[in-house]
Symmetry: C2
Subunit: 205 residues, 2 copies
Amino acid sequence: MGIAINTPQNSKAKKSREDILNASAALFSQHGYKGTALRDIAATLGMKAGSLYYHFASKEELVLEILTIGLRNIIDTVVRDVEALPKDASLKKVLVTAAKAHLFALLEKGDYTSTSIRYYGQMPPGVQKEGRILRDKYEDMWRIWLQRAQDAGDIKPSINLKVLRLSLLGSLNQTLAWYKKGDLTIDEIAESQIDIYWDGVVSHK
Amino acid sequence: MGIAINTPQNSKAKKSREDILNASAALFSQHGYKGTALRDIAATLGMKAGSLYYHFASKEELVLEILTIGLRNIIDTVVRDVEALPKDASLKKVLVTAAKAHLFALLEKGDYTSTSIRYYGQMPPGVQKEGRILRDKYEDMWRIWLQRAQDAGDIKPSINLKVLRLSLLGSLNQTLAWYKKGDLTIDEIAESQIDIYWDGVVSHK
DNA sequence: GTCTATAAGGCGATAGAC
DNA sequence: GTCTATCGCCTTATAGAC
């Protein structure tokens, strides 16, 4: 069939590797990095802890791959959806689209992305350092959109953009804590949140 | 001096106990429950791990006390400030006051409260169960204030109060991640955030 | 009250059989 | 590729000296 033997291209090894990543992401997203033992991950797949080392050199390498997949996923999803907008789309439309894509990435490939976002601060220093670039890249995207909206006069000059950006992302990420129990769709939640931020909650009677 | 010997009323034991709680809260708030070893806590105080057991029966008991103190602190602070308002205070004033008090508790006695809020989900099941009552009590306070504001017509009927409440608390709690680096005061941050939620960010030109 | 010493078990990681 | 077996270290917790 070819020259690739015992590499991730090999179909059996590739499937095992992906199974391990999926199981790890699920456990990490529930119990955090320190709270998840390699024994637990292996047990989920009916395997033994030692077997994981055929696919990954260390627990750090495993979680680093999950972090990278999670961050790439949210960046790619948000960039793709925003770039698909017509050139003359309103800045509010950009923010709604970005918020929807953010929530979609968080709740769709959720185990990877939620691990990356919720437990980043608890990962080993080396892993944090490697993820820093992607994290900063994503924050910068929001920083630029909001700055553009304020420069264009769509956002009031009195609004502190740093507070706004951190509040907005905090709100979106907080959704992780209650989405599964709720009955609202991702689109409804994203639209609700941006509506609140855009027009406020006050009644003008 | 009296009958109290070898109890928390004893001044030396009481001080050690408080030192241990303070050191533990500081480490837990940085590294989480599983990420903090009793050795690390003891080392901070120039002690040995075994000595902690004179004051606490287990690591679980220690973190439960931190959780309880943290939650009581935020509830007491918020209730006190809101109740001090004049009876005819506007509902916006109530929310601004509550937000300020929430941030104050989070950043003042921050190690206890931030441990309670950020790492609640990673604590042992028994500890989570004991903290549940206080957590629910606090969430209910916000639920009631927001419901009252909507019933009175101050918040638009179209606003989903569940989304609003979780977004708002998510925003406030997110402040923990960036407050220390910033130059804004607690009052400024709280006022900024409530202003955003109340009037929105859109410019009416 | 805090120490030393240690028990009992969990952890990440490795070596070699299959 | 996965297993068994094990190493060395770390963890919580206990017992008894001081």
